[in-house]
């Protein structure tokens, strides 16, 4: 059992390394961000297995990471919006969009 869980964790870390490659090559910012998101989910998986392998206290950490899994990505869409505070769903062409077009 412990043997198998070690193998699975190693497999997850391998999958994580693949996602790191996508962060490196991009090319779009969204590519890098989505790869980081996948890395986050994989990390939660690793923590869940570490909980079984070592100590169930690791679940507390996994829960915190799951709770905040979207934070970085929300920060990204905020920063990517034209005034740095917006929401990509606000598609009505407002004054900010017009300014954006001029650049």
């Amino acid at each position: 059992m412990t043997f198998w869980l070690h193998l699975i964790i190693l497999g997850l870390l391998g999958s994580l390394a693949g996602a790191l490659w996508r962060v490196w090559v991009g090319p779009a910012q969204a590519d890098r961000m989505m790869a980081a998101q996948l890395i986050g989910t994989t990390g939660i998986g690793v923590l869940v297995l570490l909980a079984v392998l070592q100590d169930w206290a690791a679940l507390t950490v996994a829960l915190a990471l799951a709770l905040l899994a979207a934070m970085a990505a929300i920060g990204f869409v905020k920063a990517a919006s034209s005034d740095g505070a917006g929401d990509p769903e606000e598609c009505a062409p407002g004054p900010t969009d017009a300014r954006d077009g001029q650049r």
Binding site: M1, Q37, L38, L63, L67, A70
Partner: protein, 98 residues
């Protein structure tokens, strides 16, 4: 449930979970453009985490651990759905700007 059966369930379920994670990563690496990569990944990694959580659940000693495991998966699903939507929109608006 007898010990042996629970262990077998854990082995099978975590194995399936790993396969989904690997499939998601392969999609992330091989698919040609941003939006298909997004598509491949959000489905695969959430199913993967689901199976891993289920597999771990068979080793849990009490109900609070099971509840935490369930909550972890629910929160991860919520986050992934939100992020996929938002990042896709941001990518749509950013196209041509970068």
């Amino acid at each position: 449930m007898p010990e042996g059966l629970a262990d077998i369930a854990t082995i099978v379920l975590t194995g399936i979970g790993l396969v989904f994670f690997l499939a998601g990563t392969v999609g992330l690496i091989r698919f040609p453009d941003v939006f298909s990569r997004l598509h491949a990944l959000t489905k695969a990694d959430n199913l993967g985490l689901g199976f891993i959580v289920l597999g771990a659940g068979f080793q849990a000693d009490d109900w609070t651990q099971l509840a935490k495991l369930g909550l972890i998966w629910a929160l991860a699903l919520l986050a992934a759905g939100t992020v996929a939507q938002l990042v896709a929109r941001a990518a749509l608006r950013q196209e041509g700007r970068e």
